[in-house]
Amino acid sequence: MIVESRKVVMVIGGGIAGIQAAIDLGDMGIKVHLIEKTPSIGGRMAQLDKTFPTNDCSICILAPKMAECFRHPNVTLHTYSEVKEVLGVKGDFSVKVLKKARYVKEAECVGCGDCSAKCPVRVPNEFDFGMRRRGVIYLPYLQAVPMVMTIDRDNCLYLTKGVCKICEKVCTREAIDFEQKDTEIDLNVGAIVVATGFDPFDPTGLSEYGYKRYKNVITALEYERLVCASGPSGGHLIRPSDRKPAEKIAFIQCVGSRDVKNNPYCSTVCCMHSTKEAVLAKEHDSNVQSYVFYMDMRAVGKGFQGYVTRSEEEYGIKYVRGRVAKITEDLERNPIIWCEESDSPTAVKTKVDLAVLATSLIPRRGMEELSKILEIELDAYGFIKTASLEPFDSSREGIFVCGCCREPVDIPESVAQASGAAARAAEIVAGGFS
């Protein structure tokens, strides 16, 4: 007989992997606590414009999943929350979760945004990588779930200096609550699924590429926001320096990846996302000419090679084999790509309007701290170590792993793994069904 309170699973991370794991478990009749560190679920997929190889709009296919997860009778969402302690053993873990104060009553707030519009302090927004500004009281993005505002305590005038409270005056629903405190929640769960995803590698340290020094050198995730209809430029493909349309674009592969000085591994998804991004540029403006500078074209998944072939033949994207040595800038702030093409002995300089860096996928910030709390081992790169033949099992029994926190993977692989980790967790908490 299974103790009822143990027929519960905790999922850490509310990106597509965590969402899928939570929905699968919930659908099996297992209670799920989904813990998400930021104010909204959705994760990295919410920041993408389109997805390869079908060019499906990312948020359009993700949003129904987010809604399904939010509405699921067996899933309890804990956003803006972090796992602080995990004691016990497989089948019976005691967990402490810190729920950070939003200073907004979740039950009252409808996310109308009136408060945010009136907030006198504007700070760079994380969702668009600072390409837009947000109020201190804010909604991370339009489709955020839950649809509830959050006050960023580090920048709030009232919380730091004791003055302002404009949001409180503006809110007609009396949803603002500056008295709110961080709270601790105790959970008893039988198994844990970790799905904390990835962060993009910061290429500022690779001075040869000039990121941050040159305005028209951006990262792939910044590019995704730039071409996205709901992004900072309203979907217009313009370069940051002068907001002119970008007509020649270079995509630089393996920035930080396959590089023994930084991340020696392959980040798996970049060949395909750059191909997609180049295709999108052409769809935005048929005059665009894109170049992809790469080492090996890794198009291993279903339909991927065909997608690359189409991008070459139908969209005219030029693939240049060679590792980019450096990027410089001319007086018009055009990035110049220096690359020795591997099949010709000369170095070639290519002048473009915009250079997009396909940066590595690295473990989420805080992974190490979380691994200590969970008492699980990490691999040499800081991803969670799993067994090859039990690909979801961490080093601690009862804790399973899926998605990019175990190794960089694309969306379908994350989804498939999330279901798989859910099955492993279910074997513990719902075992012996008949």
């Binding site: 129904p64 099949d343 719902a430």
Partner: protein
């Protein structure tokens, strides 16, 4: 009769729709349509804001029909229906108008004409919405057992995961023993464990599990029934064994492409990687100079796909050979090394450190093999190399199993252009088929490594366990309804139904057609054929469809 009150929500879908169609003009236009009492636009109707607005409009404006003009019902109809339900409106009083996939996306170059087309589409949707009727969802019991087709690593893992959770499993394998391709492998990548040990472990676990029934030398011959209630027969050694199952998992794997007529392939001096595995496992490799050629029969015009596993297989075998015989000289001729991820790329680096020599060739200048030498144009050096060899190993792609077509027809599921099974959604439903209750894992879906096959197998087990755990499924009430007064029992519908979902039964009023609600797909074939017009398709009545046609042809 209740007054019809239709609410219309036009979605901008960011700029997907809003960037091409004049959405405010559409909202304005809609206001003038009959029975429309409310209309508005949303940036994203599917966001929490949009959904909340639908719900409050249903209550506040007393809507009894809701029309959403947006992306596609494929992904979003269930969501909007459930929102209507939450607001107390029967979900079948919801109508979807597709103005993105079928309008803004395909007419990007002609925004004005596209806006006019969107008006037509919405007018049609509104006309149909007026005639919609509430429907009750149908609940069907699920047989709590699974049929797993294929006893390779994917099928074995999936069966074990389900079996461990207490579900009954029938595991069908066409060969004499479980194991699939693992039986042909020597060591496993990248951990260098013996493949035979993994098979042995899985076989033992399966033997110990009382929930799993294994049928080897067996083939699924027929599959009938429907989600939750499949039945059919498995042929084993001439005997027909009937089965019943609530769900079916396809784990039939793939085959190695045989490079007949390529690079002097003879199975002796020029072999495939799989044949090399056998030579290695029998410990009879005694040659020094080995040349491996990647992408043989892959990433070309005929098979324009990367088979994903061959680079790792070549690396694994090369490293194995070097470990046994450090004197060996191994060249790997490749086009792009596909060592994605952490393990694989590490392994590639180790192989280079160990002295495996990698030579990049291009599709345009493939290597040429003669009796003594492999001649290859090295793209990096810009020169032709002449490599003497004792053994050539060809890395050939995995290809779909020749039986997959037949199985696909039996299960009524699609396959892709290369014969691999096609999942329900490339991004978000990688392990489900569009046909409910049928799931997919391993190389039957796409070439996968052992580790990936195991991962997918657990994933498919998870998906399949959902209806098994719930013990029932809800199916759409979009089915054929028979008017007993009009039916003359002629049986035409029974003959032509592709799903065997309508049959003539004796009743007190004589012979009358009866729909099997759980398996009827609502395709409408019977309704079209019925000479008496006795069959109506729920939710797609003649009146509803004609109203759309009339609305289209009536200019407003």
């Amino acid at each position: 009769m209740e007054e019809t009150r239709i609410g219309v929500f036009v979605c901008r879908c960011g700029t997907n729709i809003g960037g091409f169609l004049d959405v405010p003009a559409l909202v304005d236009y809609v206001k003038g349509l009959p029975f429309v009492v409310f209309s508005q636009e949303n940036m994203y109707t599917c966001s929490e804001t949009g959904l909340t607005e639908i719900k409050s409009a249903i209550v506040e404006k007393r809507l009894n029909r809701v029309v959403v003009a947006s992306c596609t019902p494929r992904t979003h109809e269930p969501l909007f229906r459930s929102v209507c339900k939450e607001a107390g409106l029967n979900p079948y009083l919801f109508e979807f108008v597709n103005i993105r996939d079928q309008c803004s996306w395909v007419h990007m170059q002609e925004p004005e004409a596209a806006t006019e087309k969107a008006k037509d589409l919405i007018r049609m949707g509104v006309a149909r919405a007026k005639l919609l009727e509430p429907q009750e969802e149908i609940e069907v019991g699920v047989i709590p057992s699974a049929l797993v087709i294929g006893g390779g690593i994917a099928g074995m893992t999936c069966a074990l995961s389900l079996g461990d959770r207490g579900f009954e499993v029938i595991l069908v394998e066409r060969e004499k023993e479980l194991g699939g391709h693992l039986k042909n492998l020597h060591k496993l990548f990248p951990i260098q464990e013996d493949a035979s040990k993994l098979i042995e472990r899985k076989r033992m676990d399966i033997a110990k599990n009382r929930n799993i029934e294994v049928l080897t030398s067996a083939k699924v011959e027929g599959i009938n029934g429907f989600f939750g209630n499949f039945d059919g027969t498995v042929k084993q050694k001439g005997k027909d064994i009937p089965f019943k199952a609530g769900v079916i998992i396809v784990a039939t794997g793939a085959e190695e492409f045989k490079p007949i007529g390529m690079y002097g392939y003879d199975g002796v001096k020029v072999v495939t990687q799989l044949e090399l595995e056998r030579i290695l496992s029998e410990d009879r490799l005694s040659v020094k100079n080995i040349v491996m050629i990647q992408c043989v029969g892959a990433r070309n015009e005929e098979r324009n796909y990367c088979s994903k596993v061959c680079c790792m297989t070549a690396l694994k075998n090369a490293m194995r050979i070097l470990e046994e015989n450090p004197e060996s000289q191994i060249f790997i001729l490749y086009r792009d090394m596909q060592t994605y991820g952490t393990f694989n790329e590490d392994f590639y680096r180790k192989a280079r450190e160990k002295g495996v020599i990698f030579v990049k060739y291009s599709l345009q200048k493939p290597p040429v093999v003669n009796k003594r030498l492999v001649r290859v144009f090295d793209e990096f050096l810009g020169e032709e190399l002449h490599l003497p060899y004792d053994l050539i190993v060809l890395s050939t792609p995995m290809i779909a199993h020749p039986d997959s077509d037949e199985l696909a027809k039996m299960l009524k599921v699609p396959i892709d252009e290369y014969g691999f099974f096609l999942e329900a959604h490339v991004k978000l439903k990688p392990l489900d088929f569009a046909t409910d209750g049928v799931y997919l894992c391993g190389s039957a879906h796409w070439p996968s490594t052992v580790s990936e096959s195991i991962a997918q197998a657990y994933g498919a087990a998870s998906r399949a366990s959902i209806p098994l755990s719930r013990r029932h499924v809800i199916t759409e009430p979009i089915i054929a309804a028979v008017d007993e007064e009009k039916c003359i029992g002629c049986g035409l519908c029974e003959i032509i139904c592709p799903f065997k979902s309508i049959r003539i039964e004796e009743s007190p009023n004589g012979r009358i057609a009866n729909t099997i609600v759980a398996s009827c797909k609502g395709c409408g074939v019977c309704g079209a054929a019925c000479p008496q017009k006795a069959i109506t398709m729920n939710h797609f009545t003649d009146e509803q469809m004609l109203a759309e046609v009339v609305a289209l042809t009536t200019e407003r």
